[in-house]
Symmetry: C2
Subunit: 514 residues, 2 copies
């Protein structure tokens, strides 16, 4: 096992030697006197206070892990995870109590990473999440493979159910703690980890009368200056602009925080400073061999803001299928229907996921469109990608839609019940019969395999009907839809095919959001 | 072992069923009658000729592997590799003759991939390359790790030496063939593979009087139209514009070829066609666990064209160093010194290499600058990257140069002999003594370790001297240079540190280009 100290990127001694910067450890700033430009600091070991003048003050207190005001939330064995001591406390509890089971509350980045580690540690784990999905910043159908992967790893998922309180396990019971949920359930465990989010640590800023933003973070301008021009705020505590939507947001991620620090340093040292252009919310999480990543806006964000958008789904190999070891990536792309500007992408899979998200992150940064994705010239050798990379393919699908070259819909836009009842509509599955036998099909669909579709179309009479066409992932649906159209039929391809249908179905079958 | 047929992306039957397109196999087009808009085709099995009219004609004959007109080049056991039958012929030769050794001529993409496969097959391999480096499109110092990796895999490298001819191994000799080189050497082997490049297959186009470009490919416009507006050319046979430099070029890669095919289809079918924006030459090759990738212009291309540019080197972990398994990536970034526009990037390493090149490929496509790289918001979790991703870091280093915030030079810009002789110059190694003992230092350098540099600078008198500062990879050189500057000394950081020095040194020690 590696030394714990190797987790620390820097320490006080290095700051002194490298940068001639004195780091006062174990020292809490308790007050800011803005008029006098002084701070009061307290030594946390001996309580002694000291006053320090400043020309500029940079606030970087981060956020604090939320501990909800619920009955029993302070019981021994209930932990939050933010610092190395937090992690040590959990490890010590597991060892001392011989803990065999854990409930993690909250299915965001931290909750999932904690889950994976507890599973590796050998604990029987459950996840309780108030929302009907894990990873709240992502769209629900996108995270279905994450749900599957968690279940496959033995994690019990309790989605769409909030925690109502905690109790110590009754004397003689097998578990040390009991987690009560709003639906009336009880989940017993020897350890509870709360991972329900972070809140910007604005205590000091509020005491000093600094302006806060609409999301509860410290309000700053593009140079990270607060409402007091001598005071800056950076990192999780600062409220920033969403680069894609323009709305105020809190992005507690390390990349933007680093960038903000650099901007403030430039302002203070009189260099020509750049402006913080806002954050795209580019994020990634890995668990149990799966990678989930995104950049830009999600569909739910766009819906909440009432923005118009279009979307396409793609399920595609990370590299050429003829090279061994190709893994499928599920991609969802959101774009502006007027000019094709990329608004966001989410992807999940085992290999090459965050690479595609990174490329699209750069495209979004530069105001790129789906036409740019279509034209992207990316590294291709069969072990790395395809001559038409997933980024190209998702761009091509979207560009076909925008150019009105290909009618496309998605499962959530279809009312399957109404469609089935409507004699003017036909749902067509164009996969080959052995595939249907193996993975199933949409109940009301008729099977017209692509391999003989042209002959069947030559005999088909119903030119007044509308044909909704799907295959496994969308490619053959595309080919089939074109054959329908060329033969004079009205047809539309269902984006993402049966694979997307399954993910959508799973999502609909989950309990609704409370 | 997988079926060989799985290597084929499509076949005639699929084209017929899916697209209603008839593929005439084993049929060679032998003449184009442009006036009559007819082609003459010959059945290669029975020699029978047939004439076919066309409205539009698309030429996509690709290139042919070059077999140099050298003595003995047609001897049995000497192969080129372009098609699956070529590969089968090599395998058959190895089996039938019990071949134990091979010489590969040419160290480009194909040559290296062939080498890796022959080594895996158990053959003792040598590489003969006329240039003093493998992978000619790349800059020489960038491919040094590839040379190291090839040698480590047991490949004998003969760089800077062209082949002059081939002979059958004399009766009774251990090897079946002998490769003679221009320097007078003889390399014996049981198998020779020629991988010295491809040439556009323009025979038919020339016969038909179509205009060729300056590089010998078929000349086309942005819609891939040849000098005859009814005839298009796509793929390796077409000459295209270099997206970065604007010059004519041949890019025999699959990605651009795919894109070109789509453009032609749009033109012919009357859709609103896009324009081929040119090729960035984005490329990747993997061998023996190493990945080498690039996008945009190389330094040698920029020098050949007389363009002004600046460059920075970076040797950086692919992901956070505190997460196990981080691997170093060597990066070279070229950019415009006036506006910071990214001109090209080359990178080599074991993990995460082509991801960074893909991101920069998108940046180049969108006219991005080093400031955009600096600000890129990419996926970060410790197993995927760093809060400051390598793309950010190389952007920051370059932006520091452009903003005149940090004096930077590179080893090839320094005349070490003159610098050592000049009493006004000091070369300073700021690494700690144990590192120098372990990996060595530049002979004439004085050691002033960063850990005590501030104290040493306080005592240092020579304010008139110029200090050339380096560390292992550049980061501490940066910190040290800033300390020199703040203390009132004239100092400059040497990009890429000792790591780049070693790569530059290896390059200089190779035989010169013939």
């Amino acid at each position: 096992m590696q030394e714990q100290s190797s987790l620390l990127v820097a320490n006080a001694a290095k700051f002194q030697k490298w940068f001639n910067v004195t780091v006062k450890e174990s020292t809490e700033v308790v007050a800011i006197d803005r008029a006098a430009k002084k701070i009061t600091a307290r030594d946390v070991n001996n309580g002694q206070e000291s006053v320090h003048p400043y020309d500029y003050l940079v606030l970087s207190p981060g956020g604090h892990a939320i501990r909800p005001p619920l009955p029993g939330a302070d019981l021994p064995g209930i932990f939050v995870v933010k610092t190395i001591p937090d992690a040590n406390a959990i490890k010590a509890w597991i060892t001392e109590k011989g803990a065999k089971s854990a409930v993690v509350v909250g299915g965001g980045f931290i909750g999932l990473e904690v889950l994976e580690n507890l599973v590796h540690r050998g604990l029987k784990c459950s996840l309780v999440e108030m929302l009907p999905q894990v990873m709240p910043p992502y769209d629900p159908e996108v995270v279905e493979p994450v749900h599957d992967r968690l279940r496959a790893a033995g994690v019990e998922l309790h989605l769409g159910d909030g925690v109502s309180g905690f109790e110590a396990g009754p004397a003689g019971s097998a578990a040390l703690l009991a987690v009560k949920t709003q639906s009336g359930k009880t989940h017993a465990a020897d350890l509870v980890v709360l991972a329900i989010g972070v809140r910007p640590e604005t205590t000091l800023a509020r005491q000093a009368g600094l302006e806060l933003g609409s999301r509860g973070g410290i309000k700053v301008d593009e140079r990270m200056r607060t409402s007091d021009s001598a005071i800056f705020a950076v990192g999780d505590v600062a409220e920033v602009k969403d680069f894609v939507t323009g709305e105020q947001t809190l992005i507690p991620l390390a990349g933007p925080a680093n960038r903000q620090g650099r901007i403030v340093a430039d302002v203070i040292s009189g260099n020509e400073p750049s402006r913080f252009r806002g954050s795209q919310g580019t994020s990634v999480v890995g668990l149990f061999g799966l990678t989930l990543a995104a950049t830009g806006a999600s569909e739910k964000t766009l819906r909440r803001l009432g923005r118009t958008f279009r979307k396409v789904y793609l399920h595609i190999n990370n590299h050429a299928g003829y090279y061994p070891g190709a893994k499928q990536i599920d991609i969802k792309l959101l774009f502006d229907p007027t000019d094709g500007r990329v608004l966001g992408m989410q992807a999940v899979g085992e290999e090459g996921v965050e690479k595609r998200v990174d490329v699209v992150a750069m495209a979004i940064q530069k105001g790129g469109t789906v036409f740019d994705l279509e034209e992207a010239e990316l590294c291709y050798a069969p072990q790395y990608g395809s001559a038409k990379d997933p980024v190209n393919m998702v761009g091509m699908v979207a560009a076909n839609v925008l150019r009105n070259q290909h009618p496309l819909t998605s499962w959530d836009e279809l009312d399957l019940q109404a469609l089935t009842a409507d004699p003017g509509c036909v749902l067509v599955d164009v996969r080959e019969p052995p595939e249907l036998d193996k993975v199933g099909k949409v109940e009301s669909a008729v099977n017209m395999p692509l391999s003989s579709l042209r002959q069947q179309l030559a005999k088909l009479q119903d030119k007044d009907k509308k044909y909704y066409v799907y295959c496994q992932v969308g490619l053959r649906g595309y080919i089939a839809t074109r054959q329908f159209l060329q033969a004079g039929f009205d047809a539309v391809n269902v984006s993402g095919g049966y694979k997307s249908f399954q993910q959508q179905l799973q999502e609909q079958q989950r309990p609704a959001k409370l």
